[in-house]
C-alpha cells in the first residue's frame, strides 16, 4: 500500500478533436457546447469544450490506478469543476496520498491543462 505523502503516478491524456463526440456517444450527453464548435462559439466559448464528467472520469482512472484499477476498490470520488477543458490539449491528473490507514487510502487530486486547473479539490478513497 502507498504511504501518506506519496505522489500518485501522473496520468497524462491528450483528448483528440473528436473525443467529445465519442464521449457524447458513450455517455448520452449530446449538449451542443461539447459536440458542435460552431454552436459553442455562438454562446461565447472559444470552441467545443470537454465534458466535465469526462475529465472526472480521467481523475477516476488516476485514482483507481492506486487500487490496481479494480472497480471494487474505488470507494468514492468528489470533485469541483473549475474552468473549461479543451480537446487537443494535454490534461494531467496528479495527486498525493493525504491519509493512509483504517483499511483505506485518501487521495487529493487535481487535473490541469497547462497552468489552468480544470478539476480541483478532488478527493478519493481507495479500499485496501
Amino acid at each position: 500500500m502507498a504511504a501518506e505523502g506519496d505522489q500518485i503516478p501522473e496520468l497524462a491524456v491528450t483528448p483528440d478533436r473528436y473525443l467529445p463526440v465519442r464521449y457524447a456517444g458513450a455517455s448520452g450527453d449530446f449538449n451542443p457546447i461539447h459536440v458542435d464548435p460552431e454552436f459553442a462559439r455562438s454562446v461565447g466559448l472559444p470552441g467545443a469544450i470537454l465534458h466535465g464528467l469526462y475529465m472526472m472520469g480521467l481523475v477516476s482512472r488516476a485514482a483507481g490506478a492506486i487500487g490496481d484499477g479494480d472497480p471494487r476498490r474505488l470507494g468514492s470520488l468528489s470533485v469541483q469543476f473549475r474552468g473549461m477543458g479543451f480537446p487537443e490539449e494535454e490534461i494531467v491528473v496528479s495527486g498525493t496520498v493525504a491519509a493512509a490507514g483504517e483499511g483505506q487510502l485518501e487521495l487529493d487530486l487535481v487535473a490541469s491543462q497547462g497552468d489552468r486547473e480544470v478539476i480541483r479539490n478532488a478527493t478519493a478513497t481507495i479500499r485496501e
Partner: protein
C-alpha cells in the same frame, strides 16, 4: 436574485437501465481504460466478476435517465443559460456488470442562494437487481444571478 425552493425534497420517477457489454466497452474505450476486465467476459470472471465490469464512473451513464429529468424539471426551474456543473461526488457500493439492471432514483436535495448564485443539489441512489446499492451521487449545479 430570488430563487424558488419549492422543489426541495421532490423525488423523481425511478429510471431503469439495462447494462450491456458493448456499452461498457464503448465507455471504457472513450476514457482510455485498457484493463481486459472491462472488455473480456473471461478476464472479468477470472477477476471475480459475473461478466464484463463497468469502470466506476460508468454510473453517469446509467444514472442519466433519472438525473436528467430532475435537472430539467420546471418546478426546479434552473436557468440553463446561466448554469454550470459545479461539483460532483459519488460513493460506490457493489460493482456493476453487463447483465445488471440498475434502478436510479433522483431527489432534489437542496436549493440555496449564496453570493448571488443559486446552488441546486440533487442526490441519486442506484440499486441493482438484488437491491444492493451500486452508487450514491451528489450533483451540484450553480446558476449565476443576473
Amino acid at each position: 436574485m430570488t430563487i424558488d425552493t419549492a422543489a426541495v425534497g421532490k423525488t423523481f420517477p425511478p429510471f431503469e437501465y439495462e447494462v450491456g457489454r458493448e456499452k461498457i466497452r464503448e465507455y471504457a474505450t472513450a476514457l482510455g481504460f485498457d484493463d481486459p476486465i472491462h472488455f473480456d467476459p473471461g478476464a472479468a470472471r477470472d477477476a471475480g466478476f459475473r461478466d464484463v465490469v463497468a469502470p466506476p464512473m460508468f454510473c453517469v451513464v446509467y444514472s442519466a435517465g433519472a438525473v436528467g429529468p430532475a435537472l430539467f424539471d420546471p418546478e426546479v426551474g434552473m436557468d440553463f443559460a446561466r448554469m454550470v456543473h459545479g461539483a460532483q461526488a459519488f460513493e460506490w457500493g457493489e460493482p456493476v456488470c453487463s447483465g445488471d439492471t440498475i434502478t436510479t432514483t433522483a431527489t432534489c436535495a437542496s436549493i440555496e442562494e449564496r453570493d448571488d448564485k443559486g446552488f441546486y443539489v440533487f442526490e441519486s441512489v442506484s440499486v441493482n437487481g438484488d437491491g444492493a446499492e451500486t452508487v450514491r451521487g451528489t450533483w451540484t449545479n450553480i446558476v449565476r444571478g443576473g
